[in-house]
């Protein structure tokens, strides 16, 4: 008796609560929602303007996000997916689950990026990071790296988005010669890890001289740890871009709120949080500019990026090439 009364009261309360404040469900990757990630600040700022309840759900990394909404299909109660990257958007488009955002905000990306379904929120360049006190003359190209005996740590393109980014980078820089480049790099590679964290952790522990990461990685050490010993090696071929995007699901039951969130993504309140929580470049440079440490980072001479519609085929072919070259 008591418990059924309690249940009735609870249900009543729950339905009242939901009648009053609409809920926007945002699916994003794990590190976005951590207390030291962008999530908490973004949630506070958006809830101050939307009269809604913004709820983040975390699922692994970018690839896991797409897998998750594809698993759920049209029945998903996710409204916005935040954190896919440009290597995944073609597959996301092909899934038919995403709806056009209809917005044309300006951004400060180093390349033109316009996609009817996806809006960028941050971006970065892949790069090999090294310790200046241990490696005096870093290589200036993949060929120089392959010719040297410098040790590197990379991630598996079958399990990790940066690992996939490297495959795309080599492909964009060398095209048909990419298999030769991988063959040349084989003896530099200490090992291949399933994710970014393992490789970066092993690099910091001294397992290799360089690690595949981002040009913005040294900014973390500089700003958060007051350590200026880390740097990214600038490669003559140019650097491959990772653009992180968000899109709303066609099946969203809060389409207006989802649109409002996508527009909010370009605002100062969102963008100013990005550099020192996600350690990437914000898609729109905040009014106050970038944090000081970002000025010391390298600026690649050339931007490399495959258009989304080509990326999927190159991903499959590049990964097979990578596997064949390194499995020898």
């Amino acid at each position: 008796m008591k418990s059924s009364l309690f249940a009735a009261g609870f249900l009543c309360f729950a339905s009242l609560a939901s009648a009053e404040t609409p809920v926007l469900n945002v699916l994003t990757y794990d590190s976005f929602v951590a207390e030291w990630g962008p999530g908490p600040a973004v949630e506070t700022a958006f809830e101050a303007t939307c009269a809604c309840d913004l709820r983040f759900t975390a699922a692994g990394d970018g690839a896991a996000l797409l897998a998750r909404v594809r698993l759920e299909g049209a029945a998903s109660d996710v409204d916005v997916v935040l954190g896919l990257d440009t290597n995944l958007t073609a597959a996301a488009t092909a899934s038919g689950l995403f709806a056009p955002h209809g917005l044309t905000p300006a951004n400060d990306l180093p390349v033109d990026y316009n996609d009817p379904l996806f809006l960028p929120f941050d971006w970065g360049y892949f790069a090999f990071v090294y310790d200046k006190t241990k490696l005096a003359t870093p290589p200036t190209s993949f060929e120089a790296l392959a010719a040297s005996d410098i040790s590197i740590l990379i991630q598996d393109p079958r399990a990790s988005t940066p690992g996939l980014g490297l495959v795309m980078w080599v492909k964009a820089a060398y095209g048909d010669r990419s298999a030769d480049i991988w063959a040349g790099l084989a003896d530099n590679i200490v090992t291949v890890t399933p994710g970014w964290s393992e490789a970066y952790g092993m690099f910091l522990a001294g397992e290799a001289e360089m690690v595949l990461s981002y040009t913005t990685s040294p900014a973390y050490h500089l700003i958060a740890e007051d350590d200026d010993s880390k740097a990214a090696a600038a490669f003559d071929e140019g650097h491959y871009l990772q653009i992180e995007v968000a899109g709303k699901l066609a099946g969203s039951d809060q389409p207006a709120l989802a649109d409002q969130f996508l527009a909010f993504m370009g605002s100062d309140a969102f963008q100013a949080v990005i550099p020192q929580t996600n350690w990437m470049y914000p898609a729109v440079t905040p009014a106050a500019g970038l944090p000081e440490g970002f000025g010391t980072l390298i600026t690649p001479v050339k931007n490399l990026l495959f258009p989304a519609e080509k990326a999927e085929a190159i991903r499959v072919q590049g990964t097979l090439e990578w596997q064949a070259a390194l499995a020898k």
Binding site: D30, S31, V33, A34, E35, W36, G37, G39, R55, F56, T57, A58, A59, G60, A63, A64, L66, A67, R68, R70, L71, E72, A75, D77, A91, S151, D156, R158, A159, L164, A186, I189, V190, T191, V192, T193, P194, W196, S197, E198, Y200, G201, M202, L204, A205, G206, E207, A208, S217, Y220, H221, A224, W279, R315, W322, Q323, L326, A327
Partner: protein, 520 residues
Amino acid sequence: MASRTGKISPTTAGGVAVAAALMLLCFGTLAAVLLRASGGALGPSDAAAIRFTVAQAAVSAVVSVLLAVPVARALARRRFVGRHLLITLMGAPFLVPVIVAVLGLLQVFGRSGALNTALVALGLPAVSIYGFHGVVLAHLFFNMPLALRMILQGWQAIPAERFRVAASLGFAPADVLRHLERPMLRDVLPGAMLVIFTLCLSSFAVALTLGGGPRATTVELAIYQALRFDFDLGRAAALSAVQFVLCASAVLLSLRFAKDAAFGAGLDRGGIHWWGVSRLSVLQDSAAISLAAAFLILPLAMVAARGVPGLAELPVAVWPALARSLGVAAASTAIAMFAAIVLTASVVRGRYARPIEVSAMLPLAASSLVLGTGLFLIVRPWIAAEHLALPVTMLVNAALALPFVMRILLPNWRAIELDYGRLATSVGLTGWARWRVLTLPRLRAPLGFSAGLVAALSIGDLGVVALFAGERGVTLPLLVQRLMAAYRMDAAAGAALVLVSVSFAVFWLLDREGRRHATD
């Protein structure tokens, strides 16, 4: 006890029910994934992955068990100060989360690790840990502790009276080996090898990281790729089925080799007081114990040393995450122990022992990714995934730990029945009274050990929680991963130290019963 025709005893019914639940979990989730799949055949690279997976698992299992034998023997026949603590400490690697342990191993065996630093200082060439041998070394590190404990229990289960008789008959060590130790090993080793082989079947991060590249592609990695980048559910399900087939074959194979030692009952005088104390054997035993202890404890000491500075940087989120992990562990342990007792009882005394025993091993071979995805697909239409993060984690952790518990309980329980079963039945000791008077007191040590194992494994396990976690369901291992993903390696090392210490403390507490038993 054995039932009359047409009537199923409660023991059998309980075992069948638990086995059916496990089958449902393993195959139901697989079916859920398959139902959503279209196409999906295995490719040529999958064949290579299957070959590599079986090879590394087989070598890892054989090496772990064979190296554990002399160490267990030494620990069984020597008495020294700190022996119990050492035995407990040597169990720790098995309880440590993979990524933490790999970093610890690398601090000893890595390119700039302690070993290579020493070699270079001595003017010797450095050795590389990366490659097939590295995978085996890491699996040895993780699994030898388990083998060690299982075999040590075997030695301690030989009644002291048998050794006294051996001594009075003037047995040489070779005779003891032939009449007492070899039958015991014949009983224990196949089970230990089976558990480790099956565990290594679903290895992924360890094999890839230490294997040095795509040569070290395991089935689990192929599943990961199929599910996440290729969204090829059919291929993921097919690969997962391959893992089950491999596991089931291994169980059947080990059943062929295993043989009850049948030492008969003793007077519970405990430990082995007899032994030749030739200087050579003391030397051998000391060497075996020191080497194994160094191999198992040094990397963990590195993890601890690395974690201490990070303790100052721990985010407050560590404590609620720890509480959550402990809650999950308590529930998983209760579920796993209850289910394992029901299951083992039916394997020992009920009908359908073989099929039940095989089905109880299946969760070990389950791909946690397929399991998680299947569960997600099944519960998804009913309840939002993030509300289920913790209940699902409890259930899955319990299911994944159940095979260990059963493997630890089974030989002990069989021995009890063999030694006292007929007497107990003849005096009409059945049901609850039989459990309370006969079985429980004699099973206390393995029960404590396995409960400690389940609890610690559950605290350290990432398993499926990553697939379900929302904003609030963060457990401690997930938090360690999030800290690492945010460059905060020091804080991550600190949190990992908390995780390892708590797992170990919980294990130690529950295992104390076992250690008491091991005392004379």
